[in-house]
Symmetry: C2
Subunit: 316 residues, 2 copies
């Protein structure tokens, strides 16, 4: 099956209706690949590759010749949730350049929106009220990014290009031109204390769970703003609402939530201090993801090291 | 009065309450300057400089030793409206670097807001409705800027840095890296025909009056978006509403209006397709403007050529 021959890939991502689109892309990108739907996988011994988002528990373990698990997006937490996951298999995180570009566009929008006080101007518009405000220049606005992977680094560079004073924080030390890079738990309090706007782009790991809860939100200067576009579990919603009520946070732009889709009864929908977007910050097209995956499979079969594999030591 | 001695400057900008702030800035920046309020100008023969926005008709003509008229902002149309204006005197347009930076931040926000479909997401939030959309990447979005002066050029560079496909149009030919520059009336139709988002930053002149009326709006691709931050007279509001009703335009972000403040009865306030901001795109601080003006006065007194003088041949 390997290298030169026929590949068999089973797909569970985007529902059964997405399979024809994946098939169309891979027909061009990896012509020797047979694509099978998750619900009709045929002989499980044929399957070498599984392209999945939320695999049903135990199904991957039942594929005896599986060689590589392909996450259909950047996250892997839905795959790790399978308690019978064959832990010895490599898992590819799908991070096309497009994903970082889209995230940077979204973050640039959200930061400019907060920086220029647009929510207040929109409230004025609703009341037919004409009033100037004097925002500082971007060069006087301190923006900090939690998470400096490919997405965070791209966002930091774009924000610095717009003119913001950008700093960043990550587990291990990074170096990005024009961006003050902090690292590790020990440097987190000082990083947070010097921000007007904090942007969370961390991966979902046990360590990042609840990282922007009451304790760390209290380290921000009073009245700071939040942009949350990593994973919802990083910002406990009860703590967020308490910080807004206390004036510790003034506004928040949220793209990710503890439960998605955000339930109809959530108070976040109707909170005037909160902008809700439906997990759209980074939505690379299936075509872009198929291109990334096809390239990774070709490299994998040639024995190359894949740079975006899940690393159990890091948790992402 | 000139050069080495005492300067007398009369001020009408921001109302009488602004005079103490102007005085404070100039006390530091030009220590030999006496500042007088427009309403108590003293001996008119003393006055060498007039810092004005809307001078009362005939008042400047009554100052026999006036040497330089200082507009308190980038526009000069309120000064030219004085039918008794001493036409032989130079008029300084006040364009600190801060003004272009602020305009570029605003335009970047407005273009990203439209590009990422945020108005639709905000309508969804109001209804508690969770739904994805697939915007193209910025690199597939064609943004065109009308007006490539210091502000337009700065905006074009910032948008290109974010990743948009940027073109521009101006009366005379300009050259800006990574921006396709069109020039003159003859190239306007083709420029407009190739845009998803058009940004108007033109100066107020007889030629630019009504430039984005029905005829030129019809040259845009159907469903294009508009950002208007030059002068309100450039976008006739009746034509704008008709283009929105017809689906020729899909959305507009407006910072300038035919009448400002926008009257309470204007239909623009409540139109869900329109975002109204109260002429805040570029509001450099009095301190930044005072710095620019102080520098210009020093250069003027040393016989240097001032680069931002009103040019009657250009109309701005």
């Amino acid at each position: 099956m390997a290298g030169t021959g026929q590949r068999v890939m089973v797909v569970k991502s985007g529902g059964p209706s997405a399979v024809p689109e994946w098939r169309e892309h891979f027909r061009v990108l990896l012509p020797d690949t047979e694509l099978r739907c998750w619900t009709e996988p045929g002989n499980l011994a044929d399957i070498g590759y599984a392209l999945v988002w939320e695999p049903d528990e135990g199904r991957l373990a039942a594929m005896p010749n599986l060689r590589l698990i392909l996450s259909s997006a950047v996250g892997v937490e839905h795959i790790l949730a399978d308690r019978m996951l064959p832990r010895h298999l490599p898992i590819l995180r799908t991070v096309p350049g497009e994903a970082a570009d889209q995230m940077a566009e979204y973050v640039a929008w959200a930061v400019l929106h907060l920086h220029r006080g647009i929510p207040l101007l929109q409230e004025q518009q609703a009341r037919g009220h004409w009033q100037f405000h004097d925002p500082p220049l971007a060069s006087a606005r301190r923006v900090g990014i939690l998470g400096l992977g490919s997405m965070g680094a791209r966002c930091a560079r774009m924000l610095a290009g717009i003119g913001f004073r950008v700093s960043g924080w990550s587990r291990g030390r990074k170096a990005i031109a024009d961006v003050a890079c902090h690292a590790g738990q020990g440097e987190l309090p000082r990083f947070l204390a010097d921000l007007d706007i904090v942007v969370c782009l961390l991966p979902a790991t046990p360590e990042t769970r609840g990282i922007l809860g009451t304790e760390n939100l209290a380290r921000l200067p009073r009245g700071a703003c939040l942009v949350s576009a990593g994973r919802g579990q990083q910002v406990p919603e009860r703590d967020l609402l308490a910080a807004l009520d206390a004036g510790q946070l003034s506004r928040a732009v949220l793209d990710v939530f503890e439960n998605e889709p955000l339930p109809a009864e959530s108070p976040l929908w109707r909170d005037p201090r909160i902008i809700v977007t439906p997990h759209v910050a980074s939505l690379p097209s299936r075509e872009a993801r198929a291109r990334f995956i096809a390239d990774a499979i070709r490299r994998f079969e040639q024995g190359e090291v894949l740079p975006t594999l899940y690393d159990p030591a890091l948790g992402y």
